[in-house]
């Protein structure tokens, strides 16, 4: 009886796993197909021979190396910046008493409930005024105002024992030194979570780069892919899929290497899109 019931559970779970994996496998194979094969059911999940020519097609219409660089640069600089800025701010909120703390904290809390769509137009006007439209910085900098990471780091710093900091202070260490040498090294799991979340979110970011970037060379991978399927273009779908797989690669590698941290990171965010 028990095994029969588990058999039922297995059945449903295996079907779900197959459904979850199918689009990945299908698009990986599709990257090797011609435009005709890609739509033929007998070719689904069968390797074709066009991978190289599909990739070549892709590089013919877009400077793909530059686009991968744009994506990586934006996502990495953003992630490193967030880790530094948010851990410093989170530390201040968790471990210090100062004038205006309550006010600033409440302000941040309120802003967290405002969806990003509200700030898009003012940000666009600001970026135009700063002459930053169509630069990497226009994509990176606004993200540093995100409040989520500050709260996450604050939560983690609260658990750090105050006596440890106190004794370091008596030994003559300054606050910044205590922060960098004593506190931060204990925060690796939290930093890993925040880092993964920030990287993945920025890597897949679409709407804001779509608004600010407008030179082919600066486009990030999602922009490149979205432009390739715009109506009016004769699209080689095999090469779109090859591009999609390239865009997936860094995230997939991260995921396979740091599976547990990765899932924790994505969950700690619980922020969609």
């Amino acid at each position: 009886m028990k095994t029969k019931r588990n058999g039922f559970a297995y059945g449903i779970l295996l079907v779900s796993c197959a459904v979850a994996l199918f689009p990945f496998l299908w698009s990986a194979f599709a990257a090797t197909h011609t435009n005709t094969q890609i739509y033929q059911i007998q070719w689904a999940l069968r390797p074709g021979t066009r991978l190289l020519s599909n990739l070549k097609d892709l590089t013919a219409s877009f400077p793909l190396g530059r686009n991968m660089f744009s994506s990586l640069f934006i996502a990495l600089v953003y992630t490193l910046g967030i880790l530094l800025i948010d851990s410093m701010a989170g530390f201040a909120f968790a471990k210090y008493e100062f004038k205006g703390k309550g006010f600033l904290f409440a302000l941040c809390l309120m802003a967290m409930f405002i969806p990003t769509q509200v700030t898009l137009i003012p940000l666009f006007i600001e970026m135009t005024a700063f002459h930053m439209i169509d630069t990497y910085w226009s994509v990176i900098l606004p993200g540093f105002a995100s409040i989520f990471g500050v709260f996450l780091m604050r939560q983690n710093f609260m658990a750090f024992p105050g006596e440890l900091m106190e004794s370091a202070r008596i030994d003559g260490a300054g606050d910044f030194r205590i922060f960098a040498r004593i506190v931060i090294p204990t925060m690796k799991p939290a930093l890993a979570s925040l880092g993964i979340l920030s990287f993945v979110n920025q890597w897949g970011n679409f709407m804001w780069p779509l608004i600010t970037l407008n030179t082919k060379e600066k486009y990030t991978m999602p922009l490149v892919l979205s432009l390739m399927v715009q109506p009016g273009y004769v699209t080689n779908y095999g090469s779109v899929m090859a591009g999609a797989m390239l865009a997936l690669l860094p995230v997939l590698v991260f995921f396979l290497l740091f599976q547990k941290n990765f899932i924790d990171g994505m969950l700690c965010g619980a922020v969609k899109g």
């Binding site: 700030t119 137009i121 969609k272």
Partner: protein
Amino acid sequence: MWMGPPQPVCGGPFLDDRQSLTEVFMRRSIYHRSVPYLFLLPFIAFFFVFMAYPIVFSLMLCFGKYKSASFTFTGIGNFSFVLSDPLFFKALFNTFLMMVIQVPVQTALALILASLLNVKKLKGKGIMRMVVFMPVLLDAVSYSIVFGMFFNYENGIVNNVIRLLGGDGLQWLNLGWLAKTVLIIAITWRWTGYNTVIMLSGLQNIPEDLYEAASIDGAGRIRQFFAITVPGLKQVLIFAVILSVNGMLQLFTEPYLLTGGGPVNETLTIVQYLYKKGFKSFDFGVASAGSYILVLIIAALTFLQIKVTKEDKGR
């Protein structure tokens, strides 16, 4: 070297007035007072420039016209424009319709998968949990394109399978309700596993002996699911629902790429409407007013959902 009295909270204003009388201590005191602000400075600078100011700025934009860097006050004109624009209501209707179908379906599926993955002595749980989570790895643009190809009328794989089984292919992306269905399927594919893992973490907090006691009392698995799992997960469920509702209300990339908002605006969402007003017709005032209406909707729904949980807790 500082040798003041130990304080329960580290740093901050360390010295009281008596000590800061000497000049050395005075300098130290000023330094120490500024430490927390120095830590906060980078964040607060970005926060004010790219968050607080834009929020206030767009609130102002709601009440006027902004053309070539000059602003003219027009009162509530933008709001009355949005609230009398049939297209806005169409977008509102589409978004809500997809939301009220997608969120329950996804939540139910995730709940079922999570409780199956929580069955004791099931081999391969770890790997299955990982596989089910994988769809969120694919970025929103890529998966939208892939699903667009799956549901292509002439030769998408879905219609090919239907024809293979002897049916007629469906006009997936050319009929309003089918296009909405495609969006719902795609979004559910991407986010169900993510919600499953959220719920799995909630399931860890339900004590095992509850299930044991129930099975001694003769309750079957289905009965246990409704009597123990669902009530025990209530908080996590509401959390997941709030996330999904907010995600659906802010839907943009999927309809932008999969359906283009079509056919004939049948899948146009609120955020797509805002995007069109703001960055296609550059009607900043109208787009800002619309975005604040969205804020009110999200706030009201979040409040409602939190209230539902609170009330239940008091009981």
